[in-house]
Symmetry: C2
Subunit: 346 residues, 2 copies
């Protein structure tokens, strides 16, 4: 009898959504066969596949990924955890990740830590509650709990932005100390002697602090005096650059170059200098990082260390997808390096 069926439908407010069982009924097969026709088409006969496809079309069936996730554990969701969205740096990476994942039928769940590792830890707990297929997170420094949980978890994890020997699982990024060292060396080679470092949010953004470390190491190696470190306790912005220029011009002796912790700050310096008629690089040289699109439109062009951010995102997504498809990616730890883009600002 079908009185039972009718009853079981309206138990929870039915929402009227078409389910896999409806499709099965329409196609005259068992639910599991529909599932297979949809997920592993190779395992059903062509004829059944066709009937199922027709039924799906006719009923407008859309899979309930939540149910699938519960049953199979794995929801085709990839949480991406970054410090902030207000920083241009992360946007291109995220954009690339998202494009690649979406093309493969995965959805990106975006969460931000606001540079707080404790928040990161609790976010990791939360997102694991979604039975995601994998996780992408920023940097290599995390609370021990995060590391052990993700290690035990058994699904792919990619750490981005920074590289190191011992990631949780896989890793794509650049060496922050090397970045700082390279820019300082460049400035020294160009003959600048009093090089100030302008840092933003160094206490929170430890990757910016790594660049400072590289900077100082390069100065020491060259036997150069430290031109000073200006630290601003807020996220990078053009405004920070504006203030930094002001502060640097007021220093005695005055630095002849400034090494900015990123392109946004460096751009702020350049824009302010142009407004104030300070000649770059004669009076002051300026170097930045990351190769933001803006850098090459400034006058003079900003000398910067370009990092392939889109590439980083794409590769992170691809490492993840490869693992999800059962393969073992080669080179699961990837240092993407950087390129010095010499502009007129140094």
């Amino acid at each position: 009898m079908d009185s039972q069926e009718i009853r079981s439908r309206k138990r929870h407010r039915g929402k009227g959504r078409v389910t896999l069982a409806d499709v099965a009924r329409q196609a005259g097969v068992a639910p599991i066969t529909v599932s297979r026709a949809l997920n592993t088409p190779g395992r059903v006969s062509a004829e059944v596949k066709e009937r199922v496809d027709a039924a799906v079309e006719a009923l407008g069936y859309v899979p309930n990924l939540i149910a699938g996730g519960l049953a199979a554990a794995g929801t085709r969701v990839i949480p991406v955890i970054v410090p902030s969205l207000a920083i241009l740096t992360f946007i291109e990476v995220i954009d690339a990740i998202q494009k690649r994942l979406e093309a493969a039928g995965y959805q990106m769940l975006l969460a931000t830590t606001d540079w707080d590792l404790d928040r990161e830890a609790s976010l990791v707990d939360t997102v694991l509650g979604y039975s995601p297929s994998g996780v992408i997170l920023t940097g290599l420094r995390h609370r021990p709990r995060v590391i052990s949980r993700l290690r035990d978890w058994g699904r792919p994890v990619v750490e981005i932005m920074e590289v190191g020997d011992d990631p949780i699982d896989m890793n794509v990024g650049v060496d922050g100390v090397a970045l700082g060292h390279a820019m300082a060396s460049h400035l020294l080679e160009q003959g600048y002697r009093r090089i100030a470092f302008v840092g933003s949010h160094l206490g929170h953004d430890y990757r910016a602090a790594q660049r400072l470390e590289g900077h100082q190491r390069a100065l020491e190696e060259a036997g150069a005096a430290c031109g000073g470190v200006l630290e601003y306790h807020e996220p990078a912005s053009y405004e920070v650059g504006v203030r930094a220029l002001e502060d640097v011009m007021a220093m005695t002796p005055r630095p002849d170059a400034i090494h900015c912790s990123n392109d946004i700050v460096a751009s702020g310096v350049l824009l302010a200098a142009s407004r104030q008629g300070i000649r770059i690089p004669e009076e002051l040289a300026v170097g930045g990082y990351l190769g933001l699109p803006l850098a090459e439109h400034l006058t003079p062009k900003l000398t910067t260390l370009a990092v392939a951010r889109s590439e980083m995102g794409t590769q992170a997504a691809e490492l993840l997808l490869e693992r999800l498809s059962g393969k073992t990616p080669e080179r699961p730890i990837r240092d993407l390096g950087f390129t010095l883009v010499k502009g007129g600002s140094t």
Copy 2:
């Protein structure tokens, strides 16, 4: 000591995750009681609540939101669907949405349509498969299927960026035609007579096309001749601005002002002009939209129509959250308006 107990399930590989049942056992109550202690603490005795909390703490229990979602329908996920992440415009809005949602314990699922309404439609299908608690999407134009599905769906939906009379559910944005009209009027008031419109991606970005419509309407009303429309079939970028300046300077008769479809393009124009020594606004006036942070750091400052993008994101999230908490928000359709920020560029 107590850790090996978890092995009891063998059917599906247990993954060792702590479940509500584990907590119940530890606390000596039924699973449902744990559920209540966690979700509706008012309905259990203080003593039980305490025991449950202790057990949760001891076992490190993290709720499986997927299971909760299946049972109750509603996963505390809010999909946010935007055209692209490569456009700064959307970033601040998304950032604000994300912050507000995360603070309320919801996660943002980010998806991009690449300006394609068919893609949007299929994305909506997909994300509804996650049993989300609500949906935020961009603009008011959608495929009929999207509109009917979301209308029937019965959960909160907010459309952002654009405003109109008849949203699917709730709506926060600005009037695109009014924006275009206001900037053109401003330029006319300043005495400019040959005003060119520079558009980017107009075929895809119909909201930019609305600004053009407002522009043309203003010119007509003033009886001014059309200074031409330059259209670039690619997303907005500084580069588009650079090319636009070139193209405008080659026009005869030459426009005395350009009205850019957004600040990124306008900034590109200003930066290129500064490089080439073209005097702004004497030789050419430039106006843009949105009030990007960069606008006020340029020389001269860019005249722009500032739109409160963060505010838009926050309000969208808040409308959603209000409805999720059972209230009926007042003013579910909100026009946020805009402000003319007069810079030196006009």
